[in-house]
């Protein structure tokens, strides 16, 4: 890992920002351990934990058997008993294996036990399409989590956010589900470890605009920015909002933006029905009903499993061209 001690990077990959976050957190807090399949020797299926075994040893960086249910459950037990685990599931699709431990155990123990105990842990996973992984390796399942009270949920798009969100999640007492995107690991951006503007739970207004709000998170944020640049050339001024955390959800920033632009397009790579955009769209309708100039549009992937064929997979999710097209239609 390059320059472990540096505080500012002009350009760092999303992957390295995550590695650095785990590295810095582990240096600071001896109670942090990492556990997951192939995270130690192999360095993680997408390389996000590379070198951590060498730096922190196998008592803190632990390869597990392929037992997702017990990985989450054991991390939860450790979190209740003095440690602060980071558990990794290789693909968000494997939440299916662990859903009891995530939804019935992790999310519930503080409440069920009358506030006696917390489970301060982070569950990392990655999702999304783009590698022809097919129906069981390409999903975006954030609404499963968002529909479960008790779990914080973050889905960063940018290296700087990836770093700070993970650092913050490793300091709080709420279990946090941290979902990365398989096609973001190689993307890069700046990292300022002392970023004075970073606030956990606050959406990031990446571009200020007055004609339309495009609201998104994770990889689709980059699509939104790209579309905004194209729309700008055609004199459509776009406000791009990156939600960053889905729970807590920054309703205020969303509402404020749409009250200004009076139009909104909500984008995600998940299924359409009962999705995060469904929730955002309701919030907008509930709060901005009177001033909306057009219906709020949800633009998501299709309500079908993810196909493997690259030509099908590509148009299965939102495309930049269509984001541009729909924005224009909303604005005319």
């Amino acid at each position: 890992m390059s320059d472990l001690k540096k505080n500012y990077f002009d350009k760092i990959t999303y992957r390295d920002a995550l590695r650095l976050a785990m590295h810095d957190a582990m240096l600071e807090d001896k109670k942090i351990i990492i556990m997951g399949e192939d995270i130690a020797k192999y360095g993680g299926a997408y390389g996000a934990t590379k070198d951590l075994l060498n730096l922190f040893g196998n008592e803190r960086v632990i390869d597990t058997p392929i037992s997702e249910s017990a990985i989450v459950g054991a991390a939860l037990g450790a979190a209740m008993s003095g440690l602060r685990p980071i558990a990794e599931l290789m693909y968000v699709d494997f939440f299916g294996m662990s859903m009891d431990q995530i939804a019935n155990q992790l999310a519930k123990i503080r409440y069920m036990f009358g506030g006696q105990i917390s489970a301060p842990m982070v569950l990392r996973a990655q999702g999304g399409t783009g590698r022809s992984g097919g129906a069981q390796h390409s999903q975006s399942l954030e609404s499963w989590i968002m529909h479960t009270p008790g779990l914080y949920l973050t889905m960063p798009a940018k290296p700087n956010d990836a770093y700070h969100l993970l650092r913050h999640a490793l300091k709080i007492d709420n279990p946090t589900i941290f979902i990365e995107h398989k096609l973001l690991y190689n993307t890069s951006g700046f990292l300022d470890k002392n970023d004075p503007n970073f606030l956990f739970g606050k959406a990031n207004v990446l571009r200020e605009g007055k004609d339309i709000s495009i609201i998104s998170y994770s990889r689709m944020t980059n699509f939104a920015e790209n579309a905004a640049d194209q729309l700008n050339k055609e004199n459509i001024s776009v406000e791009v909002i990156d939600l960053r955390t889905l729970n807590p959800l920054d309703r205020e920033t969303i509402i404020k933006s749409v009250k200004k632009t009076k139009r909104a397009l909500v984008i995600s790579e998940s299924y359409y029905t009962s999705s995060v955009p469904s929730e955002i769209t309701s919030i907008i309708f509930e709060n901005c009903f009177k001033i909306l100039k057009k219906p709020v549009i949800r633009y998501t992937a299709e309500d079908t499993p993810v196909p493997v064929a690259p030509n099908l997979e590509k148009n299965y999710i939102p495309t930049i061209e269509k984001i541009v097209e729909y924005s224009k239609k909303l604005c005319n």
Binding site: D38, Y42, D63, I66, G134, A135, T304, P307, N311, Y316
Partner: protein, 336 residues
Amino acid sequence: MSNTLLPALYNTMRRIRTFEERVSELFIKGESAGTMLHLSIGEELGPACVGTAMKNNDTFTTHHRGHGIFIARGGNPDKMLAEIAGKKDGYCKGKGGSMHIADMKLGHLGANAIVGGGIPTVVGAAMSYKYLKEERVSVAFFGDGAMQQGILYESMNMAALWKLPVVFCCINNQYGMGTKIEDAVGIKDFSKRAKSFGLNTLHINDLDVEDAYYKSKEIIESARKFQPGFIEVECYRFFGHARMDKSPYRKESEEKEKRKLDPISYAKSKLIKNNILNENEIDKIDNNIMNEMDNAMEFALKSPLNDEKEIFKDVYSKNDPMPVSVHEKIKKILSN
């Protein structure tokens, strides 16, 4: 010697290997759908002996490393390779890919990309055969990694409890991705686990495919008489976990040593030594297989891409409406 099955078993193993080499080529040509391609090179013995010991009507599920098993069960290399290329003529219309090949007509109840995901399917299949009084066995193939999934034990217990015609077959290639089996289990004796549930067990740990065939046959035939079984086949994954993996977590010397344990070379020597086939005859078999797989390659490359409507098909039954595309929904809203 005339009734030996060795030539047929050799043929199956060679077909598996040559097929997998073509999968690899497909990737190199940039024509595979993605890189999650898990090859069975070095692991051909298990699929060949268990696959051959099964009967025509028997069914099975496989893990993500399932090409070899399906070849041994009569899979059509053209349609398999087209599926791996994500093409229209593939087994699943290019929607499943390498990790989801299936063919209900040949009893292939599906390859699975979830480690352990296909195991309980065979329990249910066997329940239906027993109820319908069909003399069929269902076999779950999975890797050593799945030995650490709880669902296997739930399934084993049901199979034993209800005396189902089921065989659980673990292809133990010593690794789950980069994790060596020793780093994943407290005890390596998998048969012990299966036995404690009440299953018949068989542990295959040598290179003689014919011998392994006869032993597997016994387990499968007992299962047919409602005594479920467990087979572990030890082998070695000759190459990386998936096509991109260069196996940095293990020594080259280890690979070199272990690749000597080649069931195909072993079978070939035995064929020659026992005067069953001579070198020329074996070359001829190999050449025929090369031609067969070259044709499969051509078929896969020529097969057309599917058109976008295919995304919406097969979500629900043909008699019910397809999901409405997001674009249609948006269009309607915008036209209001």
